[in-house]
Each structure stands twice: as structure tokens, then as C-alpha cells.
């Protein structure tokens, strides 16, 4: 029975990770066509390195991800702090809206945004992407920070005020230190969401502003190549590191 359990767990993890491990191995395999191991080489990474179009897409994605993450986390944080002090009744409707935004498929949100930008006259490009990315990051940010803030006691804040702290001081020295791990975690997750999004960006990127996931998508449709293996490996590793850090932070209690 114990063996059976191990085999089952092993099978699941094999199913999940074998493709990714093979992907990483082929990205450092020194051959274009053969499946057989021909020695370690960073040649495919070098080819990516000299591709200027790819660099442009990469920087666009990073810039977009950072902007979306910072704006949505700041807005989300301030909203969470406020919600923390408002009465339960008021929150209900707001949460219902957030849940709706989470469960609506990316595809529907993508085309809805396409329609919206088309009619409002906002040109497709960086601005439209940024607006949409902030919008779909917000619910995740609010949930991440909320799940931490709800473990706190509001009286911590009020006792600081009673002891003569100003409101700013009570926030910076009492609430924020307790929230930092959740804030960083939200920031990283928002960046990852934005950095990896394909479906929504697909509709609203416009012809001139190329971002990394869309470049990958168009390359994937053309077929499997070693350069693409390398590119996918890099993207996967970046997201993986961010997710691991975010997850570690979530568990930290100061």
C-alpha cells in the first residue's frame, strides 16, 4: 500500500514535470535535429541573446509587468487597508465584483477590453495593455493582501493611536511592517500574472507593441525549435523563481 502511494505520487509529478525537464535539457543540447544528447552547449541561448527583436519584446514585457504590478499593488493595498476598517456589509458587494472578475474567462475579458478600447478611442498598445493588466491583477492582489490583513487585530492600530501615535506613524510602524510579506508576495504574483498572460494581451496588444508571451505564441505555432526551447526555459525559470519567493514570503510571520 505504501509503495502504491509512492508510485501514484511519482506518476503525477512525472506527468507534471517530465515535459518541462525535457524542455530544459533540449535547450542545452548541442544539436538542432537529433533527440540524442550531443553535449552541453549554451549555443541556443546565445542565438536568443543576439536577437534584438526578442530583447525589445522582453523589455516591453518587463516594463509592462513592473508598472502593472506596482500600480495594482499600491491601489490594492490602500483598498485593503480601508476595507479592513469598514463594516462588513459594505464589503460584500465589492467582493462579489472581484469574484466575478476572477471567474470570467480571460477570453471574454480580452474581447470585452478590445471592444471597449475600440469604442473609447484609446489606441491599442502600451496604454491599453497596462490598463487591462492592472484590472486583472487587482483581484489577485486584493485577495493576497486580504488573506494576511484578516489575521490582524484592528485594535493594534487603535492602541497605537491611543498611545499618541499619529495616523501616519501607526500605519508605517504598526500595520505596514506586519503586511510587508503579503505586499511583496502580491507584487511578485501580479508581475508573474502580467508577464505570462497570453489570452488577454492577444486581443489588445495592437500591431506595434510586441510583448514576450505573444512572441512565444507566434513562434510556438510555427513549430518546435531549440531557440524556442531556450526561450521557454528562461520564461519558465523567471516565473518559477518569483513564485517560490512569493510563496516563501506568504508564510513568513514577522
Amino acid at each position: 500500500m505504501r509503495l502504491l502511494k509512492k508510485i501514484y505520487l511519482g506518476f503525477i509529478y512525472f506527468f507534471l514535470y517530465a515535459p518541462i525537464i525535457m524542455l530544459i535539457m533540449y535547450s542545452v543540447n548541442n544539436t538542432r535535429y537529433s533527440l540524442i544528447w550531443q553535449g552541453f552547449s549554451l549555443r541556443w541561448y546565445h542565438e536568443l541573446f543576439v536577437d534584438s527583436g526578442l530583447w525589445a519584446a522582453f523589455f516591453h514585457s518587463v516594463w509592462l509587468g513592473l508598472s502593472a504590478a506596482f500600480i495594482s499593488t499600491t491601489l490594492g493595498l490602500l483598498t485593503c487597508i480601508q476595507l479592513f476598517f469598514t463594516r462588513r456589509k459594505k464589503r460584500r458587494f465589492f467582493y462579489a465584483l472581484l469574484v466575478l472578475l476572477i471567474v470570467i474567462p480571460d477570453l471574454v475579458f480580452g474581447i470585452a477590453s478590445l471592444l471597449f478600447f475600440n469604442f473609447s478611442g484609446i489606441p491599442l498598445g502600451f496604454v491599453s495593455l497596462l490598463i487591462a493588466h492592472i484590472t486583472f491583477c487587482l483581484p489577485f492582489v486584493i485577495y493576497t493582501i486580504n488573506s494576511r490583513i484578516h489575521t490582524l487585530d484592528p485594535n493594534l492600530y487603535f492602541s497605537a493611536l491611543d498611545l499618541g501615535a499619529s495616523r501616519v506613524r501607526a500605519l508605517t510602524q504598526i500595520l505596514l511592517p506586519l503586511l510587508w510579506p503579503a505586499i511583496f508576495s502580491a507584487l511578485l504574483l501580479a508581475f508573474t500574472l502580467s508577464f505570462d498572460d497570453v489570452i488577454i494581451s492577444y486581443f489588445i496588444a495592437g500591431p506595434d507593441y510586441n510583448i514576450l508571451p505573444l512572441t512565444i505564441y507566434s513562434l510556438v505555432r510555427a513549430g518546435v525549435t531549440p531557440e524556442l526551447n531556450a526561450l521557454c526555459t528562461i520564461t519558465f525559470l523567471i516565473s518559477m523563481v518569483l513564485v517560490i519567493i512569493a510563496n516563501k514570503l506568504k508564510r513568513v510571520s514577522p
Binding site: 515535459p19 518541462i20 476595507l83 465589492f94 470570467i104 474581447i111 492592472i134 508605517t172 489570452i199 518546435v224
Partner: protein
Amino acid sequence: MSASGFIGLLAGKYCCPMKTKPIAFFITFTWLSIFSFLPMLLILIASFLSKDSLNLVTFPFTLDNYSHLLSGPFANILLRSIAAAFLTTGGCLLLAYPFSYLLIKSKHQSLLLILIIIPFWTSSLVRTYALLSILKFKGIANALLLKLHFIETPLNLLYSNTAVIVGLIYTLFPFMVLPIFSNMEQFDFKLLEAGQDLGANRLDSFFRIFLPNTAPGITTGCLLVFLPAMTLFYIPNILGGARSILLGNLIQNQFLVFENWPQGAATSVVLTLSIVLLLSFYRRPPKEFVN
């Protein structure tokens, strides 16, 4: 000024409890209304308009887009998508439920859990590509099977409905595990002992104690798998053949290939309405899924 000081100042000034108006909340609320609910409303309106090659949509109001959906290939594709989504959800559930239980009981839980959280957040496009690269005609899966003499000629593993289902299960599996896991984590295993003391056998314990108590996790998981399964258009595009078009691909094509926006909008409205219908069976907000 330090970052913490800056945010504190902002927060103190604009969202201080009780005293002033909740500006940050107001901004977020307005933002979401303008950039997510207004667009949804636009879809609804567009779905009743006619197609125009110049301006994409035009008056007069019409119900044609919806009546077109009843005829034509749409009903067929809708049924196929629902079937595919059911198969995916069922497959994920069958794999994930026993898996989550083993995860709860495992000694290496934190490591095993982070290995599920990573694919939850990372790009499913990249993971689909990884699957593509091992399943392709000259890929490692075929090479391995040939080498082990299980098969004589390479199999065509890709470009079929099966490949699409496998791809969907592969991509969406973590979305089933995490809600079930976090729900099972809160289950009090002493209940099972209590049940046994009161004379329940193993079947009773499972069906009358464990299953009902972990049902909320199953519901959340099924929602998180079922909805994307119908709309992740790039998985059928990458792994499927010409005939494995699902609802997501249909909507994508209506918008970007045929440029028939009203028709695409009508299709999305039907999709969204069926989702709302599904959700009405389910009231609690899926808090589990942020951890």
C-alpha cells in the same frame, strides 16, 4: 523618503479609517467598473447589433446573432466544448482527489506543495509547448516507445481530440489540486475516528463523513477547471487538429479572422450566461484559491 514611509503617508492621507472618505476604495471601485464591467456591458450591446465591414458594428438592433447560434455549426461546437470540459474536469478530479489526500498525509508536504503551486502560476503556454515538444511525431515519447519495442512505427500522438484533452488536463491539474487540498487541510481527521467509534465502516466514513466535508473544495476546483477548459483557445490551436475547434477558438475566430464582432459578442454572452448559471449553484467566494 523610504518606500514604507511613502505608502504610509499616502494611506494615512487618503484612506485613513473612519475620518475621511475612502478614496482608495472609491478609485479601485471606479477603475473596476470602467475597465471591466463597462466592457462586459459593451459585449452585451454589441451582440444585438449588426455586422458592418467598416465600423465593425452598426445599427439596427437585431436578434440574428443569437438565432444564428441555434443553427449552423455553433450548437455542435458548443456541445463538443462542454463534452471536452466535462472530460477534463472529470479527469482532473479523478487524479487530484486521491492525490490531495496523499499530499495531506505526506511527510514532505511543503516541497510537494510548492511543486504544485509553481505550475499554478507559471505560463500555461510554456507548459503546453513543453508537452508539444515531447509528443510530436519525432519527439522523445515516440522515440522511447520505439526503443522499448512497444510500437513498430511512430504514433501520431498530436493533432487529435485526445491530445487536446490530455493538454487541458496537464495544464489545469493544479487548479483542481489547490482548492481541494486547502479544503482537506481544514478537515478534522478526528471526525473519522469518532465515526468509527460509533460503528461506521470504511465506506460509511468516506461517503458520509469525508466526502461531504471536502465537497466545497471539489466544487471550487471543478469551477476553476471547467471554465478555462472551454476557453483556453491556444491549447486546441497548438495540440489539436483542424477538427478539434472548441468554443474559445470559435470566439477567437469570429473576432479576429471573420471580423464578425456582433456574432462573436453573442457567442461570448451565451458563454458568460452559462457561467453565471453555473455559479448560481455556488455562492461562497473561492477564498481557498489564494491559499
